[in-house]
């Protein structure tokens, strides 16, 4: 590309009257240009942001819906996840036993197995109830919603935590 055929072909006149121009090489040293090119590439590679943020959609329930219009969940298919401080996750299946015997603690790594297990067991009745307490952070909340996506849980709800559950979390965390 950067080279051109400058050698005279046979068609040129070659006589005593034709002045021979000094043949200059048209080869250009492209090394500095390449250097510059790569320098700029490096600049753009580092400044470019390839990962565009994605948005998670969440629909909130209307608090004004009357109690009798709300769907009651089947206790056999209910799994309640409680979020506490320091990325702690607690859960219980069905209804919380008065002696809190079915209240178990977990973490974000193990909770996925638990959800999957419950999903297989409850099948279509599965409803996950998410209850973050006041000490949980925003990341925990997003993570648990993400867990719903990952495990394809179709029905889940975010509910305010009750005092009993909050006390249980604090008691367990305090130990």
């Amino acid at each position: 590309m950067a080279e051109m055929d400058t050698s005279g072909s046979g068609k040129h006149k070659k006589g005593p009257g034709v002045k021979k121009g000094k043949k200059l090489s048209t080869k250009v040293d492209l090394t500095p240009m390449v250097d510059l090119g790569f320098l700029l590439i490096t600049f753009f590679v580092f400044t470019t942001t390839m990962s565009q943020p994605v948005a998670m959609r969440l629909a909130l329930p209307d608090d004004k819906v009357k109690d009798e219009d709300q769907n009651k969940i089947k206790q056999s298919g209910a799994l309640t996840l409680l979020l506490g401080k320091n990325n702690n996750v607690f859960y219980y299946e069905g209804e919380l036993a008065p002696d809190a015997s079915n209240f178990k603690s977990s973490n974000f790594k193990d909770i996925r197995d638990e959800i999957q297990h419950k999903k297989q067991q409850a099948d279509t009745n599965l409803v996950v109830v998410i209850k973050p307490n006041n000490e949980s952070n925003y990341k925990n909340f997003i993570d648990i919603l993400d867990e719903m996506r990952i495990n394809v849980v179709k029905r889940y709800a975010v509910v305010d935590i009750s005092d009993v559950e909050d006390q249980l979390i604090k008691k367990t965390e305090g130990e």
Partner: protein, 221 residues
């Protein structure tokens, strides 16, 4: 003993091909790069497997930073800025803040609103460099003085008849109660749908969503 002579080859390489590649890549990166939107508030968002991109216009963004400060901003185009101006005029009138039209114009130009209603007048006189996460944010931490409700009301009124995307951008370490108060503000204004900005991450292998994606069906949630 005489070694056979090796013909000396020129060490200069033809740079043309390399030059072509370099500039091809260069043009690619120049064209794909987007100037990073100016972020006055640094926020590190959590990750999710979500694959829908966040919208970039007709949006009202609520930022929640690591110190639980709440800021309000709109999309970065003239349409959204007009809406912001309308919001500010609305809030000014409804709360008797006594902002002049030039103060409203300044506030509109500023990247976000980050002060309680009573201090909006002061924010209008701050230089742009001071519009940062040092500002106290819109009060949203306690339920009695949730000024976010007022801002969302103004936003809904300003975007009346057009599409409005409520976007919440929260930091990893922001606490849940503040987030919940923002949700309360949404609910009070009957805004039940919103989006949360996250970074994309891959779906873990072996999970149900992974299998669903592999089987070619789009995950319908």
């Amino acid at each position: 003993m005489s070694r056979p002579k090796i013909a000396r080859k020129s060490t200069s390489v033809d740079m043309t091909a390399m030059c072509d590649v370099a500039f091809l890549l260069l043009s690619f990166f120049i064209l794909t790069t987007k100037p990073k939107p100016s972020e006055a508030v640094p926020i590190s968002t959590p990750k999710s497997v979500e694959n829908k991109f966040a919208p970039d216009k007709n949006l009202v963004m609520i930022s929640l930073n690591k110190d639980n400060h709440v800021y309000l901003s709109v999309g970065d185009n003239s349409g959204d800025r007009d809406k912001k101006q309308a919001m500010l005029e609305d809030v000014n009138k409804a709360n008797n803040l006594g902002l002049s039209s030039s103060e409203i114009a300044t506030l509109t130009k500023q990247p976000f609103i980050g002060t309680p209603l009573a201090q909006l007048k002061q924010q209008a006189h701050l230089p742009v460099e001071q519009i940062s996460s040092k500002l106290p944010g819109i009060p949203c931490t306690d339920t009695t003085n949730n000024q976010m409700t007022e801002w969302i009301r103004a936003a809904v009124a300003a975007y009346q008849g057009t599409k409005m995307d409520l976007i919440l951008k929260g930091d990893n370490v922001a606490t849940y109660p503040v987030f919940k108060n923002i949700l309360t503000a949404f609910k009070k204004n009957e805004q039940f749908k919103f989006q949360m900005v996250t970074n994309q991450s891959n779906v873990p292998a072996g999970t149900d969503l992974y299998k669903l994606n592999m089987s070619g069906k789009a995950a319908q949630m």
